[in-house]
């Protein structure tokens, strides 16, 4: 109590005009820095558009639908990197979502309370490991393993199916679209699972207990109570993970093989937008080459911006419902 009075006297003694000027100044200061956040985003958009204009002017819309990427003849098209970005992200989602869901279910519904925190922390540490570490590990450890143990089996089994087998055709190289997609799955797993966990925790205990009281099993509670209640949040979490996967750079650069072509087989090397940037940007000679790379960056930015904005709006909606 004595402390409170002392603070009160000190505050009281200094109030008055100094206070109101201080208020105006401090408010203006924080406002300016909040504005700066908007300016950064605005700056990113302006800088990317400005840099991309020469390429977009030279190639027009065909930039987005052309596969050719030839620095010698200065003909550039973004289709191969766009395709690679989408396919690796799709593989990452295909593998990552079920695993993330399993992890979230285990942590929220099954695991004993004392294990919850350590386990959640360990899964989240997967997100803390820098992407270059996944890259170097992927190149030296994972890709050779895939080449020797997984791809020959895939080629021998799935690769033999008519039609569908084209996805698994070609020699086992280790590096390629599949390996990159798989490493991306490991990297986005903690993001998706931590959001799923958070939204699963928002389900009112009384709803779940009522279902248990009626004799439902755990899996029935998850499917018929938890999932319907948190659907928007789960989709939001998935979109957030997708946003991460689309823009991930270093890990992919190490293992995708950096080939500017579209191959149907996911065992073959390809490239993504971010990998093309990381590999070629500092070596790009000629304004058109550089501008084409920046145009790639602009495309990536637009895609991730839309995906992340949808994710945020979905999660916001869930939050408002929980709050209201």
């Amino acid at each position: 109590m004595a402390v409170d009075t002392a603070v009160g006297q000190r505050l009281g003694a200094q109030r008055g005009r100094a206070g109101s000027i201080g208020d105006v100044v401090f408010r203006a200061l924080t406002f300016l820095f909040a504005l700066l956040v908007l300016l950064i985003l605005g700056g990113v958009i302006v800088a990317l558009v400005e840099g991309a204009v020469p390429a977009l002017r030279a190639f027009g819309f065909s930039f987005v639908v052309t596969e050719v990427w030839n620095p010698v003849t200065e003909k550039f098209g973004a289709l191969a990197p766009i395709y690679g970005t989408l396919v690796t992200s799709a593989i990452a989602m295909l593998v990552g979502i079920p695993v993330a869901f399993g992890v979230a279910v285990f942590i929220t519904e099954i695991c004993p309370i004392w294990l919850k925190r350590p386990l959640a922390t360990m899964i989240e540490l997967l997100a803390a490991i820098p992407s270059i570490i996944y890259g170097i590990w992927g190149l030296f450890v994972f890709a050779p393993f895939v080449q020797q143990s997984i791809q020959p089996n895939l080629i021998a089994s799935l690769g033999q199916i008519p039609g569908f087998g084209a996805l698994f055709a070609g020699p086992p190289l280790g590096i390629g679209v599949l390996t990159a997609g798989f490493i991306l799955a490991i990297m986005v797993l903690p993001f998706i699972s931590s959001i799923m966990r958070d939204v699963f925790e928002t389900v009112p205990a009384i709803l779940k207990e009522s279902a248990y009281g009626l004799g439902a099993t755990r899996s029935e509670v998850i499917r018929q109570i938890v999932l319907p209640y948190t659907r928007i949040g789960v989709v939001g979490g998935i979109m957030l993970g997708l946003g991460r996967a689309l823009g991930e750079t270093m890990a992919v650069t190490f293992v995708i093989g950096n080939a500017h072509r579209i191959s149907l087989s996911i065992l073959q090397p390809g490239t993504t937008i971010s990998a093309s940037l990381a590999n070629e940007f500092t070596e790009a000679v000629g304004d058109l080459y550089l501008s084409s790379l920046i145009a790639l960056g602009l495309i990536l930015f637009v895609i991730t911006f839309v995906v992340l904005a949808i994710a945020k709006l979905l999660l916001l909606r869930l939050q408002q419902r929980a709050g209201g």
């Binding site: 401090f26 408010r27 909040a34 990317l48 820098p130 992407s131 270059i132 170097i136 270093m250 992340l308």
Partner: protein
């Protein structure tokens, strides 16, 4: 099979799969860390911390790269932290329910997850092109732009946790609002805010993509912030992709260093957060 058994089997299956999924997730953490220790430990020698990055075929260390990473991380933190804290303060204390606040919050969250290579492109366009050369300043600014949204987010979250009664009590004593914020809200939220800064540092310590086109790399010792500067992530990238065995060993050493730093920062931040939650 009766319906009862069917449901039990289905339940067992789902539960079993989720246990398997968790084990699968943890497996990768163990595998990655194990490989790092196995390959990186041999590279941790006194020379790693005392010699410069070598040309291929000769012995050397990573001193210049370690120095560059520390310097750029430090500058980025010094620039990004106050910026982030002030912007976060605005969101938590001055913009409750305002439209502008909502927009800033949404944009900040998008910046938080935006691809870091885009930040690199932005700083390249704004600084490298205008200055005419790559520089450590540009690298630091790129990293600072990554720090800002992390700090904004945690500052806002932590200030929102401060009970309004505390603010009202201070206001009732006649203190102006800025003083309430600085002397009451900040003090109550300080541990959470420090946690946020630590997480931000952990995030940029291993960032590679935004440095590729800004700080570039430098094979030699350089303290000139206006020139390209060596840094661990880009050196690891260059050395790991090279065909030279001794470069690859150094890359593993650097990778182990970065990972240990990042994990320590992360676990430290979490420990601090749970300790302060426990104290309350």
């Amino acid at each position: 099979m009766s319906i009862y058994t069917q449901r039990r089997v289905a339940n067992g299956l789902v539960m079993g799969l989720s246990v398997a999924a968790t084990a699968f997730g943890l497996l990768w953490l163990v595998l990655v860390l194990w490989t790092l220790l196995e390959n990186g430990f041999a590279a941790i020698t006194p020379a790693l911390f005392s010699q410069m990055t070598p040309p291929p075929g000769s012995a050397g260390g990573l001193l210049n790269a370690i120095f560059g990473s520390v310097v750029m991380t430090l500058i980025a933190t010094l620039v990004g932290t106050p910026t982030g804290i002030l912007a976060g303060t605005f969101l938590a204390e001055y913009s409750r329910g305002s439209r502008f606040g909502e927009v800033v919050r949404l944009i900040n969250d998008i910046l938080l997850s935006a691809p870091s290579i885009i930040v690199g492109l932005f700083v390249y366009e704004v600084m490298v092109v205008r200055m005419g050369h790559f520089s450590a300043w540009a690298g630091s600014m790129a990293l600072a732009i990554i720090v800002i949204p992390v700090v904004v987010r945690t500052t806002e979250d932590m200030l929102n946790l401060v009970p309004n009664a505390l603010r009202e009590a201070a206001a009732a004593l006649g203190s102006p609002k800025w003083k309430v914020i600085v002397m009451v809200s900040y003090r109550a939220a300080i541990q959470g805010m420090v946690t946020g800064v630590m997480l931000a540092v952990a995030r940029i310590a291993g960032e590679t993509a935004p440095l590729l086109f800004t700080a570039l790399n430098n094979q030699f010792w350089s303290t000139n912030l206006n020139a390209p500067m060596a840094n661990l992530p880009v050196v690891i990238f260059q050395f790991a992709m090279s065909p030279y065995a001794d470069w690859q060993v150094l890359a593993w050493g650097g990778a182990l260093l970065i990972t240990l730093t990042v994990l320590c920062l992360n676990i430290g931040a979490r420990a601090l957060a749970s300790w302060s939650a426990f104290k309350q």
